[in-house]
Amino acid sequence: MHNDAFFISLAFLAILIYLAAMRSAVKRFKSWPIRRLLLFAGGVATGVQAFAGPIGMHAHHSFVFHMAGHLLLGMLAPLLVILSRPITLLLRALPQKGARSVMRLFRSGYARFLVHPVTAAVLNIGGLWLLYTTPLYHHMHQVSWVSLLVHFHVFAAGYLFTLAMLYTEPVSYRKSHVYRMVVFIFALAGHGILSKYLYANPPSAVGAAEAQSGAMLMYYGGDFVDLMLIILLCWQWYRATAPGRPLSGKEAAE
């Protein structure tokens, strides 16, 4: 895990792949906004902080730094990457046959299950409860592959949750705005309750003062990212319900 260069190269590789996909997509479809490239690069740069640089370095022995990395990798990075619409880009960049098989994968029952708001919320918030209220948090600092797995889950679950709230990619089975808002309130409450719980009940091998600072960071940092998500979700509702616009299911969620 001390291999900064490895993770930073990986981040650059991801951005290069996005650029290549952009080139390929633009050849066949209309242009692809440059701001999405910036969002993607911002998301990758944010997420890699959990592995490399000062935050990644101190995360092993400091709960506060661990929490900073968690917020960036699990909340802010997924939001930025989601807004860059990498799956839509992939579908446009791939040749027709490849795109069709990717689409088939997304229409499968398994994908539907994963992108269901309740599933995504449980994977996201439930995973955090599991990590911080069991010895898992202690284990992840002992065994490096456990640490990698936890980091992967934090990002993937954050990504899935953000996608299940905002539907920025071609999700085949869509829930209404109100449904997603209600699930969101439960998820947000789960995050807030966990952070307050950790304030009084530190994870294994974390000191009381450190747990308190980490929990406060989790609480207020989580609020900040969630507020952005709430604004985006409400904004989508506002656009979808514009007067004189037909309210068809697919358009409404767009």
Binding site: M181, F184, I185, F186, L188, A189, G190, G192, I193, K196, Y197, Y199, A200, Y219, D223, D226, L227, I230, I231, C234, W235, W237, Y238, T241, A242, P243
Partner: protein, 151 residues
């Protein structure tokens, strides 16, 4: 085009949501964080307090943002009634204040308004008195907006 009763209801719904969220935000920002009169976790034994606070906070974030987007929707439909909306804001704010003062402070005893003071009753009276004034002002404004429309 829009049914009047529908837009009347929406003015009130939007205002109540926003007032609710605003009052919750003011409570957290001023009393929890600036004055430190009470904290975000005062009672390590009450699990109910913890859970209710979590849901309450999540809902208040949504209420603030959602209430404002509903307001924007009313405005673009040209069916906002300002007096009615502001009345509903006072109603929502007053309701929050009373809920906080009676349920959270007194019944669940999650936290008190302020610690280390002798005359807590005085604080409670002021807190809940303000809540009742806000509620009353909200109701008066909403009633007047109804009369104004028909005149």
């Amino acid at each position: 085009m829009e049914d009047r009763t529908v837009s009347n209801g929406r003015n009130i719904f939007s205002g109540i949501l926003f007032g609710f969220g605003l009052a919750a935000f003011v409570d957290e920002a001023v009393f929890h964080q600036l004055l430190h009169w009470h904290h975000f976790y005062d009672l390590s034994t009450s699990e109910w307090g913890l859970i209710s606070d979590g849901f309450f906070h999540a809902f208040s974030w949504f209420a603030t943002v959602g209430g404002l987007f509903l307001l924007a929707d009313l405005r673009r439909r040209k069916s906002m009634v300002p007096i009615r909306w502001w009345g509903a804001v006072l109603l929502g704010g007053g309701f929050f204040q009373l809920y906080d003062g009676i349920i959270q402070h007194k019944l669940l005893r999650i936290h008190q308004i302020r610690y280390g003071v002798e005359n807590l009753l005085y604080y409670d009276l002021v807190w809940n008195g303000i809540a009742i004034i806000l509620l009353a002002a909200g109701i008066i404004l909403i009633c007047r907006s109804g009369r104004g429309r028909h005149a």
